[in-house]
């Protein structure tokens, strides 16, 4: 199973992030989580939203280089060691993860977004070890 993330290229320039958020707001796309990774020149903005397809199309139309990426959202119970358990599974199974970031900590459980190099293998591993995933 997988969820769609919007990935957007942005220059490291004042106001660029705001422009992306404006486009999403104008198109009534609600952001659930956002992560920015950057170098001194540019960054990649990764967004989990309630309408990825609509968001990506709106951003492309507005002149951004934006695409949809398959990611997996994992549920992490609010108990000590829960995250470590998941990380151990990933490491033991030699599952390649390109990046991960937090999604939400409200409620009973937290969740994290991971981008596996091999989506099929990741799904099999998480199923085998009963790691709960959410599909958005």
């Amino acid at each position: 199973m997988a969820s769609k993330q919007i990935s957007v290229f942005i220059e490291n320039r004042k106001g660029r992030l705001g422009e992306v958020l404006d486009v999403l707001k104008e198109n009534a796309v609600n952001i659930l989580s956002l992560s920015i990774a950057d170098t001194s020149e540019y960054g990649l903005l990764r967004i989990i939203s309630d309408a990825p397809q609509k968001g990506q199309e709106a951003l492309s139309k507005a002149g951004f280089s934006a695409m949809l990426t398959d990611v997996v959202i994992l549920q992490v119970p609010h108990t000590p060691g829960a995250l470590q358990n998941i990380l151990r599974v990933i490491s033991d199974e030699e599952l390649g993860i390109e990046y991960m970031y937090g999604l939400s900590v409200a409620g009973e459980e937290a969740s994290i977004v991971v981008k596996p190099s091999d989506l099929e293998k990741a799904n099999a591993v998480f199923e085998k070890h009963q790691v709960d995933t959410i599909d958005l």
Binding site: S7, E11, Y42, A66
Partner: protein
């Protein structure tokens, strides 16, 4: 189709025609244009000294500065009341240059452009949309009258409002497009953004592009955007000489045929002014040998090219000039290396993840020049490794082509300025503090 019989004269016939027209022109300017008479007297040359075509080298050059010094009508060879049209080029520095046409000149101009349109494959059946700015600029009206003359239906849509341009193109089933290469690419881009595929939804089969350099890579990009089977030819001219119609490419794609019964070409060393033998690369110099209003003698175009005199496979015998490698003015000297923007363009267009638009920035850091090339990332990615690979590939290719290290700046699509006329892609900031 070959439009005029002058395009297939034998070399001897052409040279005889050129010599008689040259002698007539020189005698006329000596008599009618005091500025030329003074220049010729200063060089000690009289009209009767022009006995062969080689004697052309005895005559003084004309430069853009001469045109400014005699602003507005000082180089004209007819009284003003014989003019039927006046154009001016927007001078980016100083006074504009003014050009004027008699009725005979307009006929000549129309003939020149008719020839070029035919070379590019145009016929009376075409619907020709002219996306050049109408007004003081000679490009639009030159193509307009030439294409009308061969019987094509003209859509004088001028520049701007790309969406409306595309609407006309679709609804009138435009078959021939006149534009700068960069505007033709821009139009294709807007078409795709609005859900029109130029290759299948539009009927453009011929593109006559000009007023800007058409590199091989740009031609390839045009084919990608408009279709493999679209006939793309470039044409050349400048308002000082007439406007478009000085030369144009035929479908053999082996250089641009010069209308040399009207425009007598030479290639010179731009530093020494020495005439170079046929086949050598240098600055193009043109003498107008059949103009009434403004017959310029040995006009220095600042464009760098070579000339070929072998008859062409298309059947024309007129001399061809190689597609331009740049203007001697546009050439940048960066860390002692000669760089033409066209070379950078070739590289940018060869990287599939990048769009065709770019900007070159040259700055001085301490005592060294720093070259930055801004490019647009058109293929989205979610990976830094991929971004770095694109940057590195572009940088390596530039190093191979230029021998210089450049900094690549990736930007979002639609960030760089678009141009409807001549693109201005160079920012040389070295002489600014």
């Amino acid at each position: 189709m070959i439009w005029s019989k002058e395009e297939t004269l034998s070399r001897a016939e052409m040279e005889a025609l050129q010599l008689s027209r040259l002698q007539e022109t020189v005698a006329r300017v000596y008599e009618k244009v005091p500025y030329y008479r003074a220049k010729m007297d200063e060089k000690g040359v009289k009209p009767q000294d022009i006995k062969t075509l080689a004697d052309l080298a005895k005559l003084p050059f004309t430069t853009k500065q001469d045109m400014r010094d005699t602003y507005p009508f000082g180089l004209f060879a007819v009284p003003k009341d014989q003019l039927v049209r006046i154009h001016a080029s927007s001078g980016t520095t100083g006074k504009p240059t003014v050009v004027g046409y008699t009725r005979g000149d307009l006929d000549t101009w129309t003939d020149c452009v008719s020839r070029i349109a035919c070379m590019g494959g145009a016929t009376s059946k075409d619907v020709a949309q002219i996306c050049f700015g109408y007004g003081m600029f000679t490009g639009a009206l030159g193509l307009h009258y030439g294409l009308e003359n061969i019987g094509a239906a003209i859509v004088p849509s001028s520049t701007g409002n790309s969406e409306k341009q595309l609407m006309y193109m679709k609804d009138f089933n435009t078959s021939l497009l006149v534009a700068t290469p960069s505007y033709a690419l821009r139009l294709a881009e807007v078409a795709r953004e609005t859900g029109i595929d130029p290759k299948t939804d539009l009927g453009v089969k011929i593109a006559l592009v000009g007023s800007e350099l058409l590199t091989d890579a740009m031609r390839e990009e045009m084919h990608n955007a408009w279709g493999r089977d679209v006939l793309i030819t470039s044409n050349y001219g400048m308002s000082e000489l007439m406007g478009p119609g000085v030369s144009g490419e035929c479908l053999e794609h082996c250089g641009m045929h010069i209308n040399e019964d009207y425009f007598l070409p030479e290639i010179i060393d731009s530093v020494t002014g020495e005439v170079l033998p046929a086949g050598e690369k240098g600055e193009l110099v043109i003498t107008c040998i059949k103009k009434e209003g403004l017959p310029l003698i040995r006009y220095r175009t600042k464009d760098v090219t070579r000339l070929f005199y072998e008859p062409c496979a298309c059947g024309r015998t007129t001399c061809r000039m190689e597609n331009l490698s740049g203007r001697s003015d546009d050439m940048l000297k960066i860390r002692g290396v000669n760089v033409f923007p066209g070379q950078i363009e070739e590289v940018v267009l060869s990287v599939p993840e990048l769009g065709p638009h770019y900007e070159i920035i040259v700055e001085r850091e301490g005592y060294t020049d720093k070259l930055t090339v801004r490019v647009e990332l058109v293929k989205a990615t979610d990976s830094f490794a991929e971004l770095q690979r694109i940057e590195q590939t572009t940088r390596n290719k530039l190093k191979v082509v230029l021998g210089l290290d450049a900094k690549i700046r990736l930007e979002s699509p639609n960030t760089l300025q678009r141009f409807e006329g001549k693109a201005k892609r160079i920012k040389d900031l070295r002489n600014q503090k």
